[in-house]
Point group: C2
Chain length 147, copies 2
């Protein structure tokens, strides 16, 4: 057992968990974190349990989960009869979304590449060219540059 009871100020907790202090207050406000006990002067105090919870939240956020998903994951993490299947499903759904976003960004990357390349080919001379990119983009088809 750990006999040391570590107490953190909000700044120390923030540093330990890798988030900002306003973020911690915000998490308290939206009840992701419980209301912190205060010193006589009104300053918030935290312990290792809070650090664990906050770190968990941070990890989930780094995974890209939304606040509402984190809320569910937190509840699952606390329930004694942990439902790993539900956790897996949340992660799977999120993975699907990430892959969807990846696909969109790959398309965007190709379009922008093509755009820049055509700019280079047609407009290497600099300003004042007869660049038709803008006419192209004012029509509802695919964009082009200086074609």
């Amino acid at each position: 057992m750990n006999l040391h009871i570590r107490v953190f100020t909000i700044g120390a907790l923030a540093k330990a968990a890798g988030v900002s202090t306003p973020t911690i207050r915000y998490y308290e406000e939206i009840r992701l974190l419980p209301p912190a006990p205060r010193t006589a002067g009104g300053q918030r105090t935290y312990d290792d349990e809070d650090l664990g919870r906050l770190t968990f939240i941070k990890q989930c956020r780094d995974f890209g989960f939304g606040i509402d998903q984190v809320r569910v994951l937190l509840e699952l993490s606390i329930s004694t009869n942990r439902d790993c299947v539900e956790t897996r499903d949340i992660a799977q759904t999120h993975l699907d979304e990430v892959r969807q976003k990846l696909a969109e960004l790959r398309v965007l990357e190709r379009r922008l590449e093509s755009f820049v390349t055509r700019c280079d080919i047609a407009c290497a001379g600099g300003p004042g060219q007869d660049c038709v990119i803008f006419k192209d983009m004012a029509a509802p088809a695919k964009g082009s540059c200086c074609g």
Copy 2:
């Protein structure tokens, strides 16, 4: 020359450009679009020039450019001495950002894949398992599931 002067209601314009009507009002409010002339009854009217401008904006947004970038691109598109080089640079910068985001998402995809896979291996039996994912995630290292 086109002798037809097409006049659009806000709804018709929205449909033609592929945006929503509140979006058009919003664009007017933030001065991406000029204030529309009104009918006697106060309803907005648009013409083909507006359609061209709005379509241009839509294209830029689909490319992922932010509103402020669209503002610059719009000005470039209107200037008589078009600076294609500046346009290219804006697109190149944006392309770099897209690639950065792609790299991040690829890392995320791998992490989530690994997460889900480990869930499948260790927790195929369903709820009630001795799943350590939550303990892992409350520590500041990399997440795992049911390991």
